[in-house]
Each structure stands twice: as structure tokens, then as C-alpha cells.
């Protein structure tokens, strides 16, 4: 029982830490890692829920959910990295005259080398 609460509590803590990092740190890579940590926190909570007492086997449903969730998180991360690499490519090229639209406020860190194709990224 205590282990379950510890696990769940740690999950919530991870979620909160991830949220903090997501909001405060500007570089994209840190934001992505933060989101993944938040995801990991939620998965921790799910795994804690699965515990149904020492006598019973754990509930399989949360496990299935966690597996699906991991797949989704991976594809989301891949898409974000793909978009970022597109942005970097654009930075190296001469920029076309942009219209007076509200400019973006994300500070990107052009230091990523992973280049998954955007097509693959959207098929979880």
C-alpha cells in the first residue's frame, strides 16, 4: 500500500516538475523532455493504480493504457523534432518577406540532429 502511494506520489511529483520545466525553460529540447517527464509521471500514476493488493494480479487495463500512451508520446516527440528541424533549415535559408503577423515567441535551440520524417511521425 505504501509502495503504491509512493509510486503514485512520485508520478504526481514528476508531473509537477515537468510542468515547471515546460513553462520556465525556453529551449525546445528542454520543453520536449519536460513533456516526456510529465508523461512519465502520468504513467507512474497508472502503474500505481494497477496494484490491486498483494493477493490479486495487477489490473491489466492501466498497463495497456501506459503502453499506448508511450507510443503516442514517442510519435508526438518525433513530430516536434521534425518541425524543429524544418525550422532550422528555414533559418539557414534567406527568409522570405513575412507579413506583419504576430511573431512567434518560442526560443528555439538549433542544436538537434535527429531528423525523423514527418510522415512517420504522425502514424502512431
Amino acid at each position: 500500500m505504501i509502495a503504491q502511494f509512493l509510486y503514485g506520489g512520485a508520478g504526481i511529483l514528476l508531473f509537477a516538475l515537468g510542468l515547471w520545466s515546460l513553462l520556465v525553460h525556453a529551449p525546445l529540447l528542454r520543453k520536449l523532455i519536460a513533456l516526456n517527464i510529465m508523461g512519465a509521471g502520468v504513467f507512474h500514476v497508472f502503474i500505481a493504480i494497477a496494484h490491486r493488493g498483494d493477493a490479486l494480479p495487477p489490473d491489466p487495463v492501466p498497463h495497456a493504457l501506459v503502453l499506448t500512451g508511450i507510443v503516442v508520446a514517442v510519435s508526438a516527440t518525433a513530430l516536434a523534432l521534425a518541425l524543429n528541424s524544418r525550422l532550422e533549415q528555414g533559418e539557414n535559408e534567406p527568409e522570405p518577406a513575412s507579413s506583419p503577423s504576430p511573431g512567434p515567441r518560442i526560443h528555439m535551440q538549433p542544436a538537434l540532429s535527429t531528423e525523423p520524417s514527418s510522415k512517420g511521425a504522425t502514424h502512431p
Partner: protein, 482 residues
């Protein structure tokens, strides 16, 4: 057989997306074909719900807690019908818009995937499948939005992606909490079991907060205007008309169905107040916008605000005909906005293509050389203002009446101000169309692109307004009691 057709609106576009990925050379053809089939299956399902009431099915032979459940009631059917018709219009338009461009090849698989996810959200019967569909929706929407590849578009949609991820993870945490409490994720089962407790309240708040980010509720709308304004026109239409509605649909479902026993006037008032803020701020920003598509995007922020005004009133009215009317008006408002905003964005895209830009102050010539497009903007605009005979006129009427009935008169001021601001920004665009520039020979200059925009805009004004009754019967309510 009848319940099996619940799968079609999800399976067909998914299949089409896979095929379009595999066979990029005929992707446009496959895309339009799939769009037609998907729209037909969606309408067919709507018809089934109309005739035989709620439908549900559990896939894969598993029992309810584990299996993937789909269900359709009046609310999902109404939104499904909207997504079918608007999606079809967008597909036909995209055929002309992307013809001969390489972007079209990427457009079709992503768009069909988005449609899959959208229909999935409307039909999913359990909270976790909803999460998967929401995530898929967010991913395909962000990828679509970045399709132009311009720096503005990519960075705006990267932000959109991150916000969407934050929203869905928060939603998922809420799902985990509710599973802790009741050990099931099925909406039907949960709505019977949910009882007030701190855990359940926290779960509702987390889900609502995550979805409010995705629905761009003021002041969380910060990602929407750049993302929607910089996307290609058919994508902007899909994002503004449909995608934000998915998140709104889920909030409505949670507050009025699943968690109806634990919601509270104070919390509903907060949603309403945020909606009021959205109306005023969004309309004001739309009025100040320099670009047509930015104007449309801010107008979406404002229109989402109207949808959230319904919550405090739904909360305050006791169950009965008056509340049914209000609920139906809320659905009518959402559906009308879907049609109107899609028509508006599609028309704006044509103007932009013609003029080479979409700065409102310099649009005179383009607006006058495309009468049908300008007319579409006027029609869609009158639905956005809420002029009769559009559907939003009826919705606003019922909304205002309920506000008076429940003594919450302050919303009336918000609605009146919002309507005035909306009229101001729409007529600011329309006044460009009056002048003595030469007119073309005929009303329609580019049929394949102009007719979908025109029909969508017309539907928002004529179809939904003049015959709003079907929405009521689809939701299973008696005729309106005003």
C-alpha cells in the same frame, strides 16, 4: 448492421489516409473519394441516430472495461454531421487549392488522419480512447498547419503542438484519477457511478483544464491566432471550424453528462466569465487585425467564448424544456460556427490567392473581382455576427432568454457588445467590396473552389437558421419552448 456503421466514419478516412500515403500519385483522387464516402457514412450514421436513437458498439470482442467502445447519441451525431459536411466541402476545395502543388501530397494523408481522429473523438465511448483520438487530432492538426513550411507557420504550429501535448497529458492525468476512483473509463458506466468527492472534482478540473487549452478558451487562446492564420486555407478552415470543436465537445460532454452531478454554479461561472473575456478580447483583436485570416482566427476565439457562456446557464436551469432548449441552442451555435467559419476561411483563402496577400485595407480590388467569394464572406459573416436567419441568431436568442430567466443579466451586456464588435469587424471587411473597380463577367470565377465556400456559408445562414428544428429532434428534445 446498424451499429456496425459506427465504425465507418473512423475506419474509412483511416483507410484512405493509409492508401494516400502508399499511393501518393493518386492521393488527391483517393482523398476526395474517401471524403465523399466518409461524409456519406457520417450522414448515414446521423440519420440512424435520428431514426433509432442512441447507438453503441464494442469492438474486438472484448468486454466493456477493456474493449474499444463506440457510441453515438444526438450530440455526437449533430457534430458528426457537421464534420461530414464541412469536411467534404474542405476536401473539394482542397482539390482545387492544392492542385499541381507538391504540398497536396502531404495534405491528403494528414487531412484524412485528422478527420479520423475528429470522428473518433465524437464517437469514442471511453475516456482513454478519447485521449488517443485527441492526441492524434493534435498531431495531425499541427503537422497540417505547418504545411506551408514558412517560418511563421512552422513555429506557430510547433507551439500549437506543445500546447496540445500539455493539454492532453493533463487530460490523461485526470483520466488516471477517475480510473483510481471507479476502475472504469466507459462514459456511460461512469456517469451512473460518479459521486462528489475531492478526487473526482480534481479529475474533472484536470480534464477541463487540458481541454480548455486545446479549445483555446481565453486567455489560453494564445497559440490559436498565429497557428490558424498561417496555415493553408483549407487547413485553417478545418482547424478553426472542426478541431477546436472537438475539445469543446468533450468539455460539454464532461460537464453536462459525465460529471453532471458534481459540477457547480461557481465553477460554471468561471467558465462563463472566461467565455465572456474571450468574446470581448477576441472580437476586439479581430477588429484590430490587419490581415483577413488573422481576423478570422480571432473571431474563432470570440465564438468559442460564446459556447462557454452556455455553461453557467445550463448549470442554473433545472432539467426541463428550458434547459433542453438551451442545450440544443449550444449545439446549434457550435455547428453554425463550424459551417460559417469554414466558409469564411475558404473564401479568405481565395481572396489571399487572388490578391497575393490578405491585408484587409488593400483588398478592395480582389474583393470586387470575386463576387461569389465576397458574397460567401458576407453570408458567413452574418452568421458570425448572429444575424437572422442564421443558426447563431436563434442560439443567441435562446441564450439571452435563458440569461434573463436565470437572472444572470450581465451576460446580455457581453453578448450585445460582442455582437456589435462582430458586426464592426465583418463590415470592415465588407466595406472593401464596395467601390468602382471593374467587375468580372460572371458571379463565379473559380467554381471548384468558390462553390464549397459558398455552400458552407449558405448552410450556416439558411439551412441551420431557417430549419433549426432538426437539431432539436436529433437531440431528442421536444419542439422549442420560447
Amino acid at each position: 448492421m446498424t451499429t456496425d456503421s459506427l465504425i465507418l466514419p473512423i475506419a474509412l478516412p483511416l483507410l484512405g489516409a493509409l492508401l494516400a500515403t502508399a499511393l501518393p500519385r493518386i492521393a488527391p483522387l483517393l482523398g476526395v473519394l474517401t471524403a465523399a464516402l466518409t461524409a456519406m457514412s457520417g450522414l448515414w450514421l446521423t440519420g440512424l441516430v435520428w431514426v433509432s436513437g442512441d447507438l453503441s458498439i464494442v469492438l474486438g470482442g472484448w468486454g466493456l472495461p477493456l474493449g474499444i467502445g463506440l457510441s453515438a447519441d444526438g450530440l455526437s451525431a449533430a457534430l458528426l454531421a457537421m464534420s461530414s459536411l464541412v469536411g467534404l466541402g474542405i476536401s473539394v476545395y482542397a482539390l482545387g487549392y492544392f492542385s499541381g502543388s507538391e504540398r497536396g501530397l502531404h495534405f491528403w494523408p494528414l487531412w484524412l488522419l485528422l478527420w479520423t481522429a475528429l470522428n473518433g473523438v465524437f464517437l469514442a465511448a471511453d475516456l482513454f480512447n478519447l485521449y488517443v483520438m485527441l492526441e492524434l487530432l493534435g498531431l495531425s492538426a499541427a503537422a497540417l498547419g505547418a504545411l506551408t513550411g514558412s517560418r511563421d507557420a512552422v513555429s506557430a504550429n510547433l507551439r500549437y503542438l506543445l500546447v496540445g501535448l500539455l493539454g492532453s497529458i493533463t487530460y490523461l492525468l485526470g483520466v488516471a484519477l477517475i480510473y483510481t476512483a471507479y476502475g472504469t473509463l466507459d462514459i456511460g458506466l461512469l456517469s451512473e457511478r460518479v459521486e462528489p468527492s475531492a478526487l473526482v472534482s480534481t479529475s474533472l478540473v484536470l480534464m477541463t483544464a487540458g481541454l480548455a487549452l486545446k479549445a483555446a478558451l481565453f486567455p489560453l487562446h494564445f497559440w490559436l491566432p498565429p497557428a490558424h492564420a498561417n496555415a493553408p486555407a483549407p487547413v485553417s478552415a478545418a482547424l478553426s471550424a472542426l478541431v477546436v470543436k472537438a475539445a469543446f465537445y468533450l468539455i460539454l460532454r464532461l460537464w453536462t453528462d459525465l460529471f453532471a452531478t458534481i459540477t457547480d454554479a461557481g465553477a460554471a461561472f468561471i467558465l462563463g466569465a472566461l467565455g465572456a473575456g474571450a468574446i470581448l478580447w477576441g472580437s476586439w483583436r479581430a477588429l484590430r487585425a490587419e490581415r483577413l485570416k488573422l481576423l478570422a482566427a480571432y473571431s474563432t476565439v470570440a465564438q468559442i467564448g460564446y459556447l462557454f457562456l452556455f455553461f453557467p446557464l445550463l448549470q442554473a436551469l433545472p432539467p426541463g424544456p428550458a434547459r433542453d432548449d438551451l442545450f440544443a441552442a449550444c449545439v446549434l451555435m457550435a455547428v453554425t460556427h463550424g459551417f460559417a467559419k469554414a466558409g469564411f476561411f475558404l473564401a479568405a483563402g481565395l481572396v489571399q490567392k487572388k490578391a497575393g496577400h490578405d491585408r484587409i485595407d488593400e483588398l478592395g480590388g480582389a474583393a470586387q473581382s470575386m463576387p461569389a467569394t465576397t458574397f460567401s464572406i458576407a453570408l458567413a459573416g452574418s452568421a458570425l455576427i448572429g444575424l437572422p436567419p442564421s443558426g447563431s441568431f436563434i442560439a443567441k436568442w435562446v441564450l439571452m432568454q435563458s440569461a434573463l430567466e436565470t437572472g444572470q443579466w450581465w451576460w446580455l451586456i457581453v453578448i450585445a457588445l460582442g455582437t456589435l464588435l462582430a458586426a464592426a469587424y465583418i463590415f470592415r471587411v465588407l466595406s472593401r467590396a464596395f467601390g468602382q473597380e471593374p467587375t468580372p463577367q460572371c458571379f463565379i470565377t473559380d467554381a471548384r473552389a468558390e462553390i464549397p465556400a459558398l455552400l458552407l456559408a449558405l448552410a450556416s445562414v439558411a439551412l441551420l437558421g431557417l430549419a433549426a428544428g432538426p437539431i432539436w429532434s436529433l437531440l431528442g428534445f421536444e419542439g422549442v419552448q420560447i
